[in-house]
Each structure stands twice: as structure tokens, then as C-alpha cells.
Amino acid sequence: MRANRPVFSILLWTLLSLLTLFPIYWLFVISVKPAVELFTTPSLLLETVYWKNYVKVLGDDTLRRYMFNSIVISSGNAVLVTVLAFMACYALSRFDLAGKENIFFWTITNRMAPAAVFLLPFFLLFTQVFVIGEWKLYDTRTGMILLYCTFNLPFAIWTLRPTIDAIPKELDEAATVDGATTWQVIREVIFPLARPGLAVTLILTWVFAWNEFLLAATLTSFNARTITTGLSEYVTTTGTEWGTMASIAIITLIPALLIFSIVQRHIVAGLTFGAVKE
């Protein structure tokens, strides 16, 4: 029984990996076939590779712009949210703030209503209120970064708080007695120990912004349009360009994979082990 365990484990993980990767493979197959072939002889096998969908997508200035917007908005949002959530969580965890548990609960109530409820107010704010002369917040990357902050920040605070709470307060005190200022405590002690939680927060908020469609479709038109909304432009009244859409989808996976591979190594459990006697 014991000897079979690794074999069973390998088989199980292989199966689960295949299940996860299969849709991506299917997407890739679609992206490297001409439209005619997709409907005449549907097959999951790769007999010939047709790169023209990729050539078309990568050569399209508009799509390149959408991709750039998505990267800037998602990354800008993830960094801003993670930094703000980190500081908020430190304050909630360490400072004796009046009603801090109420503040903590209040932050998550902002995520309780569906995003669609906020569409109209945000649209009005972006087009009517946040206007300086000719400039509007509508259809700007800054606007989208700030918009996603309102959704991601409460979520990030809730994700990150347990990480900060789990760092023993004695470490702050030891650093304080050692001569560190609050900023030095945060930089030298809290930040390195909170890295796994910060990495998770960064990934989740990045993915939210990267995948978001509804708000981006409503609050952008061209300048700040993201790749997810760009995809929908290939569903037209004359037909759907499946091959092009699939190639865009495959390309959008690349930045996500890069972000994951960079951040993943920081997600190490048990980083505080040995800090204090438990």
C-alpha cells in the first residue's frame, strides 16, 4: 500500500494537471488553425500550424495598445493596492485605534454589493465629476487603476491582515528597543516577514484587474481599453473570429504566467518560524 502511494500520487497529479491544461491546449489548437479548418474538420490534433492569427494580432497597433493598457493598469493597481493594504493592515494590527475592528469590517462591506450596482455611479463620477477642463477620468489608465483600488483594497486588507497579525509584536518591540523607527521596523522586520502574504495579495489583485471586463467595458472607450474588452471586439455582427480571439487569449496568458513565476517564489510558508518561542 505504502509503495503504491507515490505512483498513485503521480497519477492523480498528472490527471489533475491534464484537466487544468486541456482547455489551454484546446485554445492553443484553435489559435493555430485557419477559420475554415475550425469548422470543416474539427480536431484536437495539431497537424499543421497556422501562425497568421498571431501575426495579425501582434501586428495590430490597437491590440498592442490594449495589451499595454492591461499590463499598466493591472500592475499599477496591484502594486498600489498591496502597498496601501500593507500599511492599513500594519495600522490595524499594531496601533490602538478606536473602533478598529469596526473599520476592518466596514472595509469588506464595500465588496458585498455586486460590481454592476456601482456602474452607473462610477460612470457619472468619471464623466461628470472628475473633470478638469477637457480632461476626464473616463477612459484613462489612472481612472481604471483607482477604480480597481476601490474593489481590490478591501479584499487585500482582509487577505493581508492575518499575515501581519501572525508576526509577533515582540519583533516590533525588539526592533524599537534596538533603535529602529516605525518606518525602519516596517522595512526591516515586517516587510520581509510579510512577503508571502504580500505576494498572494499582489497576485490576486493583479488577476482581478487583468480579468475584469464589466467595468473596463463601461468606463473605457479606446485610450485605456484593456485586452479583455478588446477580445469582445472580435465578436461582430458578421461573425466571431475564433482564431484571432484564441491567439489573443493565449498571448494574455503570458504576462499572467510571468507575474506568477516571479511572485510565486516569495510564497514560502512558515517564514516566521524561530522568531519567538511558541
Binding site: D178, G179, E278
Partner: protein
Amino acid sequence: MAEVTVRNIVKRYGSAQVIHGVNVDIADGEFVILVGPSGCGKSTLLRMIAGLEAISGGEISIGGRVVNDVLPKDRDIAMVFQNYALYPHKNVADNMGFSLKIKGRPKAEIDAKVKKAAEILDLGKLLDRFPKQLSGGQRQRVAMGRAIVRDPQVFLFDEPLSNLDAKLRVAMRVEIKELHQRLGTTIVYVTHDQIEAMTMADKIVVMRDGKVEQVGAPLDLYDNPGNVFVAGFIGSPAMNFIKGKIEAKNGRQVFVSDTGSVLPVEEGRAQSGQPVIYGIRPEHIDIAPDGLPATVSVLEPTGSETQIFARFGEDAIDAIVKDRLTVRPGEEVRLKIDPRRVHIFDRQSGARL
């Protein structure tokens, strides 16, 4: 090195007052131990000296400078925490050199001071290890090393040995004492373990319920406890207490317990008829043919000595003798009390008479 003065210190958490006007004078280079049961305010007082807790009233000065509003980092103190509080992401050398790095000292100076402290504490081979790779005793030594590297005016220790096993605790006790003798720096040390206090301190401050019960040298507290609380807290096993009153019998004063046992006392310690608490340490009771008959309840031989739990009539008494006894529970022993070693306390106030 510096003297530390604590004047009328008060600490309140909302409406709850936990420290009630404490006064302590700690001389330059002195090893002072704050001791008392859990919740007596000893750790809070230490944290106020460190600057980690705000002071609600009174004044603390270090080296003649009032530090009430001085940040911990500017008090020139170093603290060793109960649970070590080592930075888990830094190796031993970086843990020890952290305070100097924060101050922006040159790397060569940091390395030299870390190396010197590591030599003192025998940590030389562990400098590249991380806290999770160390044993409890090694971690505690690193925590002490971190304090030594700072070369502070005052060391503060907050129950540093309470997480160690009994054997290691004894070894570390010796190390800390040696360290104090070597460095001569003022130490304020908190513990609930009176053995630690007795063996290490130059001066002990016994606290209860946020107040100082007695201050004195360890043997002074042992020989002349100011009240029942100090008498019961200092010394292990604890002093025997029997309630009763002083009476005159056949022209001599004796103690008569509430349950009728008659025990010897020195003449003139209290007035006849006065309700008192009779205190005698277990180690001050001997077995002798002319002793008072007592019935053995339990015997605890430890090899070097034997602890006897016995009864004088209705009154329980605990004695420690060097002899190996052959008596069995239920049998009689004769326990002799030297009246000169008896402590008499007022029954109402608990004060020594």
C-alpha cells in the same frame, strides 16, 4: 552604565489601575530583580522602563535623565524578551548586529562587535545560522548577544529563562550572572521564579498587585520578610503558616494554633492574647527526640534530603531534613522547631512583628 530611578510610577489601562505608585532605586551596575506572581505588574514596570508602555503617572530616569517622554530607541537600553524575539529572516550575526546597522555604523565595526559578543557567549560557530536552526538555549544566548552588542547603559530582561527546561535554566542563570560580573552593566530583570531572584540578584523587589511589598538583598528578604506575602513567596518550599494566637503558659509565651497545637516562640515577639500568624521555614525544622510529635502524611525523598508532610494535630506542616528516614506515612516523627527561627506576623495586617 547608569542608575535607574522609578518614582511614584502609576499605570492605568482605562479605569483599571495596575501599578500603584511604585518607587525603586537601582544603583549603577546593580543587578535588580523584580519578582512576584503573575499579574503583579512586574513586566509592565519593566516595559515602562524600556519605553514600550506609556507611563500614566510618576517619573522614570535613567542615568539622571528623565525618560518619560523619550522613545525606546533613545533610552540607551537593551532588552531580552521572554520569547527571544529574534528576527527569523536574519542570521545570528545579522540579528546581533541589527542595532548597529540601524545606527548606520560601519560594517567593520559591526563585525568586530558581533564577533566579540559571540566570543563572550560562545556563539562563534553559529553566526551564519538562522533562529529556526538553533536550540532554545542558543536562541536565548543570541537574544543576549543582541543586547550586549549595543553596549547599553541598562540591560532589561523580561523572564528570559521561563521557556527553557530546568537544566538549561540553571546553566543560563550562571551565564547571566557571569555576564553581569564581567560587564558590570546595570541589569533590571523580571521573573516569577523566586529561585532565579535569590540566586542572581544583588537586590530583589518583591511586587504584588501593582505595589512593592519589600525591597532588599536576597538573604535579607529570606531572613527578615516584611510580611506574610514576602515570607511565603521567598524560599522554596514555601514557609509554613499556622493561624493562632500568643498565649502565656506556665510563665512562658507559646503559640497556640486555632486548632489547639502548641508551638514554641521567642519571648516578647508579641503580646499574649494577640492573634498572629506563625511562620516557620521547612528547612528550619529538625527531627529530634525532644521534638513535638507529628504524624507523617507523605514523605518525598530526593536523595540529598527528605521532605516530610506531617500534621501537628489538625495543623499541616512541611519539613525538610538531610536524614534518610525509615518512618512510613501514618507513623509519628518528632519535629523540633528552633524558636529563634520562627517568624511572627500580625494576623490582621500580615506585617512582621
